[in-house]
């Protein structure tokens, strides 16, 4: 007994299977969390090492290089790149996708323990960061205040951060900006000399005075006593009263005698402003497995409660709420899906004009979609942009099988067969074709799940969801549809056509007339074409070749840009400035927004090194770079796109004189997206590479549509270099290590110990008073205590000269690298790539020791397109294999495949007409077309075979099969097209991402269907003209 027979004869069992699927599916759906993207765990590990007071060059030489050397031997390592900036070394290790990151982390830890001895002493313990989607802040809050501002950081810490940390799912809450308290001990070098003290003496005195020592316990009688020594500082005054020296004359030197003790704030603090007010920003990160939307929701619900505990002048605003974008995108896509369902049902109704038949077909939609939800729930996935879009793509395909089956059953019923037999025979006739079409779809979509890397995450889920839904829909088409047809469908005799209204009948007849005319028209076209086979083939061939000439008009890009309503600006001020002096510039930029951008919702600016730890994507690290995030209102509430607004801002920023360079970016929504154009100039001589990079930058800037062309290097920063006279030093018994340390303590400061108050710890920092470290002369006068006990001025054995050092040093695969980056406005990536390669090859002279490499989207696109071409080839081969096996023929699949080239012609035409760029997304559209367009030809050819098997002549079989299959072919095509339609033309949030795919599929499908309907029968006739196949009655 075959599948559909069982189903028809056991209706209850069939029903129950689907009820079970629905129940399980609804349960899964209710528990499905939503998110923007599937869990992305890029195999990237970052090692961050802080080396306070060191310039980029020292960081590179003393820290980064050693780390890189050790790391380079780690298994599975694909790329190693690093950035050395003032105070920080950031080494980024990229592993192969799919490698075990826990193991990698352990290997990194081993490497770190080996390298620890080589690193300078002051280097803090390197920190290992595993990059994941959880690294992005879920919510960014900004707190502004007037009179409470000085103590705001602490208030927030207690009233907001601590409670928020208790919210389930919240990972870390970082505070940025605002003053941090520290206890400063400002030394007076004159007094130090008069008491013969050095900075280390003071440091150790402070350390020894601020102790808690458990000294064991003793038993007195029956009692046991702990012995405790506790001399911790209770107040700031305590610190001042520390005795730093007993003089030989018996005097006592207190700390206050040689230094001032200030309860102050960190000098290099980061300044944050939100909507023009001084602010402190809080970024909330989620725990690794937590759900973004849930975390954001619970944080936002608890927030009003927490606000009540704050002083009245403190205001808290939400700067970025990623859950909002997610929810809007998801709801936008849900309505896209809904429209698609409505369209599909409408098409089915128009063609069948029977509510019961329409109901049966429509029923396969929830069944198959719900199967996808079960799959998502079972694999621990979320309902995200990709899964929802996949559903929308699958939607047009899930009804196809049901339509083909039901249409055939209806034909049988109209011939007078009783419903049950009609269901059996109707299904039996097209069962092979239905299986074949499904297998071709699976053959195309399944390989998508084999993709790795970023594209794998995106399209793996798409592939799996389409496979699951389509397989389930075929199962439904072969069981549920015949079973329901046998129960619900009845023969409608023309005369007693039920109690239809007059209008209903007219509509019915009207549509039927149109469809009948269409059938006849198509029949006559087929007749006409079969006589002029040669011409049809020639015209088709010319069309296909002709479309090649359109290819140069198609631009490429990696991923379509999405309007996420966020503008990120970085503006560089002249080097050497301190943070507070930038506030006026920040105000100016904010004023531009006030004047030009009424769509602005919130703007937050910051400058200076962030103090709350380095959170991903937050805060610049240079004291002279302003970073600004502006959030706009929702897409449907404004008429200008974020790209247009960014362009306006760019022209206005040009007018601010103190800004040296600036960039206005519109990305950041999509995980891991950097600037589209990245060109690496790799070579060890920074001067040479920098000059070349500048040339490339200038070349890039000349290309139309290139924005924000910039060097990753930044402008050189002034520095004072101390050159020692080694002979003099040796005679004084000094060495550069000791002296360097000493100078560092006096200028950068030495954290001696900590002061505890109300459970919080504040650093106690000793250094020269500001007035003794303000000029070159002051530096010359820094006094070093020699082993002989003499005070020697630094200037007497060292020369101090001003030099310029690069503020950042980037390295790629252990070689120095200057990066040129740029954003694009409208210009396709391939055009920019061609022009700049041309420029580099012809107008520049690249020395042999310098290598130029393309990174960013260019590299990713080239890699992805290479993969996708392979995938396309694989899909075509797989589709052929599946069809050949199904049809037991080598020739027929070949005929069917004649519909393929025109799908690509259609894609090219659609992309050119809509001015859409060929991105990875559009490319995937072209690949899935392979599975979709052959479906029509399969249905057609299969029926031609069937009719020939029934003894019709070749000509008749082709014409009659065409006439008989026209309606199902049109229906399945129209449902697929209309299901894609909302995806292609939706304008809501996040809609840009899938648009290119929908456009590609629409173009390809429409064009290839039109061609398939004429060309495939003609090609069939050509291939089968010679021998008349002998068909045994018993043959399948």
């Amino acid at each position: 007994m075959n599948l559909f027979k069982t189903a028809v004869f056991r209706p209850v069992m069939t029903m129950m299977i689907f009820v079970a699927i629905m129940v399980f599916g609804i349960y899964s759906t209710l528990n499905l969390p939503i998110d923007l993207f599937p869990e992305i765990d890029p195999p990237v590990i970052t090692v961050m090492t802080s080396y306070t007071g060191a310039s980029a060059l020292e960081v590179e030489q003393n820290v980064t290089r050693h780390l890189e050397d050790q790391f380079s031997t780690i298994n599975d390592l694909e790329d190693i790149s690093s950035t050395s900036v003032e105070n920080f070394s950031i080494v980024t290790l990229e592993f192969d996708w799919g490698s075990n990151l826990d193991e990698a982390s352990n290997n990194i830890r081993d490497a770190l323990s080996r390298v620890r001895d080589i690193l300078p002493e002051d280097v803090d313990e390197p920190m290992i960061y595993r990059f994941s989607s959880a690294s992005f802040p879920v919510i960014t809050l900004a707190a502004t205040a007037d009179e409470s501002y000085p103590g705001l950081r602490k208030i927030l810490d207690n009233e907001i951060v601590t409670p928020l940390n208790r919210v389930p799912g919240v990972g870390t809450v970082n505070i940025q900006g605002g003053p941090t308290r520290e206890i400063q001990i400002n030394l007076d070098p004159m007094k130090m000399r008069s008491y013969a003290l050095d900075i280390n003496d003071i440091s150790s005195a402070l350390r020894n005075e601020n102790v808690i020592i458990p000294a064991g316990n003793i038993s007195i009688g029956k009692e046991q006593y702990n012995i405790r020594i506790d001399t911790e500082f209770r107040s700031i005054e305590d610190i001042g009263r520390v005795v730093v020296k007993n003089t030989e004359q018996g005097g006592i030197v207190y700390l206050t005698d040689i230094a001032s003790v200030d309860d102050a704030v960190d000098e290099d603090m980061r300044i944050e402003m939100v909507n023009g007010q001084n602010a402190i920003t809080l970024t909330v990160q989620k725990q690794n497995r937590a759900n973004t939307v849930e975390v954001a929701r619970s944080v936002l619900t608890i927030l009003p409660e927490l606000k009540r505990n704050l002083p009245a002048d403190v205001h808290i605003e939400t700067v970025v709420d990623t859950s909002e974008f997610i929810e809007n995108s998801i709801s936008n896509l849900s309505s896209v899906l809904l429209y698609a369902i409505i369209f599909v049902v409408l098409v089915v109704w128009i063609f069948l004009r029977r509510w019961r038949a329409t109901f049966i077909v429509a029923l396969t939609i929830p069944v198959s979609l719900i199967a996808a939800f079960i799959y998502l729930a079972l694999t621990g996935n979320t309902l995200n942009l990709i899964s929802l879009s996949s559903l929308s793509i699958a939607l047009g395909m899930v009804v196809d099988d049901a339509i083909v089956v039901l249409e055939n059953i209806s034909t049988y019923i109209e011939k007078g067969t009783k419903p049950r037999e009609a269901a059996l025979y109707g299904t039996g006739e097209v069962g092979v074709a239905v299986m074949a079409t499904t297998l071709t779809v699976v053959a195309v979509f399944f390989p998508l799940t084999l993709l790795t890397g970023m594209t794998g995450i995106w399209f793996g889920q798409l592939g799996m969801i389409v496979v699951v839904t389509v397989v389930v829909s075929t199962f439904a088409a072969l069981t549920l549809v015949p079973m329901l047809s046998s129960k619900l469908l009845k023969l409608e005799t023309a005369g007693i056509s039920r109690k239809k209204t007059n209008f209903g009948r007219k509509l019915d007849n009207g549509i039927e007339n149109i469809l009948t005319k269409l059938d006849l028209k198509y029949k006559s076209i087929l007749n006409w074409a079969l006589i002029r086979k040669k011409w049809v083939v020639i015209v088709s061939f010319v069309l296909f070749i002709g479309s090649f000439f359109l290819i140069p008009l198609v631009g490429t890009e990696f991923m379509p840009e999405a309007d996420n309503g966020r503008i990120a600006i970085t503006a560089e001020l002249p080097t050497g400035r301190n943070s507070p002096s930038a506030v006026s510039t920040m105000r100016k930029i904010e004023e531009i927004f006030e004047e030009e951008v009424p769509e602005l919702r919130i703007i937050s600016s910051g400058i200076g090194t962030s103090t709350g730890g380095m959170s991903m994507g937050g805060g610049s690290s240079d004291p002279n770079v302003i970073d600004i995030t502006a959030t706009l209102v929702k897409v449907d509430e404004r008429s200008r796109s974020v790209f247009e607004i960014a362009e306006v801002i760019r022209t206005r920023l040009h007018d601010i004189p103190e800004i040296i360079t600036y960039s206005v970016g519109t990305q950041g929504g999509m995980a891991g997206q950097g600037p589209p154009v990245v060109i690496d100039v790799i070579g060890n001589d920074l001067q040479v590479t920098e000059a070349l990079a500048m040339q490339i930058r200038d070349g890039l800037a000349l290309i139309d549509g290139v924005r924000n062309a910039d060097l990753g290097l930044g402008d050189a920063q002034p520095a004072l270099q101390i050159d020692f006279d080694r002979e003099k030093m040796a005679m004084l018994g000094l060495n550069p290590g000791v002296v360097g340390q000493n100078v560092r303590s006096k200028i950068a400061g030495l954290t001696a110990t900590e002061f505890k108050e109300e459970g919080e710890e504040f650093d106690i920092i000793i250094r020269y008073d500001r007035s003794f470290r303000e000029s070159l002369e002051d530096l010359n006068n820094v006094e070093i205590l020699s082993p002989a006990g003499n005070y020697i001025q630094l200037g007497s054995f060292a020369d101090i000269r001003e030099i310029m050092v690069p503020p950042t040093i980037e390295r790629k695969d252990r070689e120095r690298n200057v990066q040129v980056t740029a954003d694009l406005l409208g210009t396709p990536l391939n055009v920019v790539f061609d022009e700049i390669s041309d420029y580099i090859d012809n107008d520049m002279d690249i020395p042999s020791n310098v290598e130029i490499a393309f990174g960013g989207d260019i590299e990713q696109q080239q890699e992805a397109f290479g993969d996708l071409f392979l995938l396309l080839g694989l899909s075509i081969i797989l589709v052929y294999i599946v069809m050949a096996a199904q049809f037991e023929s080598l020739k027929d699949p070949f005929i069917i495949m004649f519909s393929l080239p025109f799908a690509f012609t259609g894609v090219i035409i659609a992309l050119v007409l809509t001015n859409t760029k060929l991105s990875v997304i559009a490319f995937i559209g072209a690949i899935i077309l392979v599975g979709i367009v052959v479906k029509n030809a399969i249905v057609l050819v299969d029926y031609i075979q069937l009719l020939r098997g029934r003894g019709e002549s070749l000509f008749d079989a082709i014409v009659n099969a065409g006439a008989s299959r026209l309606r199902p072919v049109l229906m399945t095509t129209l449902t697929t097209i209309l299901a894609m339609f909302p995806l292609a033309f939706s304008t809501g949030e996040g809609s840009e991402t899938w648009q290119p795919m929908a456009i590609a599929v629409l173009g390809g499908l429409i064009f290839s269907t039109v061609v398939t309907l004429v060309l495939v029968p003609v090609v069939y006739a050509i291939f089968h003209r010679k021998k008349v196949k002998k068909i045994s009655l018993l043959e399948g």
Partner: protein, 99 residues
């Protein structure tokens, strides 16, 4: 006098044919399922294949002559309800073997 009646019909008529037998209280019959065959003149082949998905069933029964007329008239009526489906009956004389 006994008559042998062989009814060969499209499976679609299965229930109806059995109903007719039931109505006439014909208990003795043999039914053959899933038979391949081809109509005499204009009928479609019933091969149970992809090309010709339909199949025939057949009923062979031996009944008294008077009942046979009722049966045949009922079958004629049934055939009229769907001429394209295919239903044919053949009769010949028969006798119950003595042993």
């Amino acid at each position: 006098m006994m008559k042998a009646i062989m009814i060969i019909f499209n499976q679609a008529f299965s229930e109806e044919v059995l109903n007719v037998l039931e109505e006439l209280e014909i208990r003795g019959f043999t039914k053959f399922n899933d038979l391949q065959g081809r109509g005499t003149d204009k009928g479609e082949p019933k091969m149970g294949t992809h090309t010709w998905p339909a199949l025939n069933n057949a009923v062979l029964c031996f009944i008294p002559a008077d009942k046979a007329d009722d049966l045949l008239s009922n079958l004629k009526e049934l055939n009229a309800s769907g001429v394209d489906q295919g239903l044919k009956a053949f009769t010949w004389d028969a006798a119950i073997a003595d042993f």
